[in-house]
Symmetry: C2
C-alpha cells in the first residue's frame, strides 16, 4: 500500500497456498518465506474479554518457528525499513544482521517471548530504532503500570521511540526527546476480530515513513494515524481478508475520514 | 471556571467546613447544600486495578443521601444548564422539576444505581438531553459490550447525545444524528487519584456550553476537550485539592496544550 514490501518467515507444508498467493497478489515479495516440508505452521490461540480489550493467550505452538535458522534472500539486504514482528527475538536479532544499512528498524514483541526470553527481547530493543508494543505487554516487559514510565524504560534500553498500542483506545507515541502524541483509534461500529491489528498498525506506520523517506516527529505522527487506519481495516474481518480487499484509495479515504473525525 | 455555578446536595455534620468553604472561595453558590445535624455524609470506598483502568466499588454508604428530600433554593430555578450527578436517580428526577426551563440537562449514573434502581435510571435519562457515563457502567446499564451500541441504546431512551468516558483513554461523544467524536485524554505522566475525574469532566463540558450558550456539534466537541482538561486537573491530586488551586488561565493554557498535543 505504501512501498515495495518483502516478507521473511517460515511456514509448514500445512499452510494453504492461497494465503501466500494473496500476499503475492498485492505485490509483496514472498521469496523470503521458507516452507518446511512436513512441518507445522506456527499456531496461536487466544481469547478476548467480552469487550475485546484484554487478550488471553491459550496456546502458542511454535511449530517450524522453533528450529528456524533464518536467512534472507540477497535482494532483501538493501532494504531501508525493517520491521521485526513479534517472533523469537533471537531469530529477529539474527535476521537484522543480514540487512546492510537500514534507515529504520522497528520491533514488536509479545507475552510469550517476554516470559520466556526477556533478556533477548531487551537485546533486540537495543538494536532497534523504535518499538511498537501493546499496553499490557509493555507493562509486563517493564514491570511498571504507568505507560509513560514503560516507554521511558524501553527508550532507556536504546530505542529512540516507543509506540504503545491500546487496541480500540488508540496508541501513544513517545520519543526520546520527550515528545508525546496520543491518537484515538479510528472509530468503528463493529469489530470482527482484533487479531493482527498490531501488525497492520506497524505496517501502516513503517509504510508511511518508507514512502516519505523520513522519520521526523510530524511524519511519525502521520505514520501513527496510517497505522491506526491499517489496524482499523484489519479488524473488520478475520485474518488478512479485509486487507486483501482494499486499495490505496480506501487507505487515503479513511485517513481523510480520520482527520475529520478527530478534528475540533 | 466557566459560568456562575450553584450546587445542590446533602451532607452530614461530619463534613469538614473547609470543604464547603473551598467551593465558596471559587465563587460557587453553596446555599443549596443542606446539612443534616447528626447525620453522616455519603461515603464511598473503591479500589483501582494496578493500571487505574478498572474501578471496583468496595462500599457505598448512603448516609444522609438515603432520606434526602431535595429542595433547591428559589434563586436556582432559572438556571440554564443542569447537571444531575451520579446521585439517586429518583432524587435527580425530583430536583429536575424545580428548574423552570433549562436549556440543557445532562446526567451521569454509577453501578450502585444501575444495579439497584435501573428503571429509575432509564426514567432519568428520558428526561435528560444528554448522558455522560463511564464505559463499564454504560456496558452494565445497556447489557451490551460494544460502546457504539451502548450509546445508541441510551439515545433510544430519549437522550440526544451520550458521552462515554474511558478514563485515561479519553471519551467518545455520540449524537442522535449519528455523529461521533473520539477524543484522547490529556496526557499526564503521573496520576494521583482518578476519583472525581468524571464529575470534573462533566463540569468542564457543561461549563463550556453554558458560557457559549449553545450546544451545536462543534461547540460540544470543544466542550468534550474542556471536559478532558478539567478531568486531567482533578486526577493530579486527591479530592478537589488541585481544582481549588487552579485559575482560568491554567484551564485555557492546558486547552491550548491539548490542541498542540493531538495535532498532526
Amino acid at each position: 500500500m505504501f512501498a515495495q514490501t518483502s516478507i521473511v518467515g517460515v511456514v509448514g507444508s500445512d499452510m494453504p497456498a492461497g494465503h501466500i498467493n494473496g500476499l503475492r497478489s498485492k505485490g509483496i515479495d514472498v521469496t523470503g518465506i521458507v516452507t518446511v516440508q512436513g512441518g507445522k505452521t506456527f499456531h496461536y490461540d487466544s481469547s478476548f474479554d467480552y469487550d475485546l480489550s484484554n487478550r488471553t493467550t491459550n496456546k502458542t505452538e511454535l511449530g517450524v518457528v522453533a528450529g528456524f535458522d533464518p536467512v534472507i534472500p540477497k535482494e532483501y539486504a538493501k532494504s531501508d525499513y525493517v520491521y521485526l514482528a513479534n517472533n523469537d527475538p533471537k531469530q529477529n536479532i539474527k535476521i537484522l544482521k543480514f540487512f546492510e544499512k537500514p534507515n529504520l528498524v522497528v520491533c514488536d514483541t509479545i507475552e510469550f517471548w517476554i516470559n520466556g526470553s526477556r533478556d533477548d527481547v531487551v537485546k533486540m530493543i537495543r538494536l532497534a530504532d523504535g518499538v511498537v508494543i501493546n499496553d499490557n505487554e509493555a507493562r509486563l516487559l517493564c514491570k511498571e503500570a504507568n505507560l509513560a514510565k514503560c516507554a521511558k524504560k524501553i527508550m532507556s534500553w536504546g530505542s529512540k521511540f516507543a509506540i504503545i498500542k491500546k487496541g480500540e483506545d488508540g496508541a501513544i507515541l513517545f520519543t526520546n526527546d520527550s515528545q508525546v502524541f496520543p491518537a484515538s483509534a479510528y472509530f468503528l461500529d463493529e469489530i470482527v476480530d482484533p487479531t493482527g491489528a498490531g501488525d497492520s498498525f506497524a505496517g501502516g506506520f513503517l509504510g508511511h515513513l518508507a514512502r516519505r523517506q523520513r522519520s521526523d516527529f510530524l511524519t511519525m505522527k502521520e505514520a501513527v494515524i496510517y497505522g491506526n487506519v491499517m489496524g482499523s481495516f484489519a479488524v473488520e474481518d478475520f485474518g488478512v481478508k479485509r486487507l486483501l480487499s482494499i486499495t490505496k484509495d480506501h487507505v487515503e479515504d479513511r485517513y481523510r475520514k480520520y482527520c475529520n473525525l478527530v478534528q475540533f
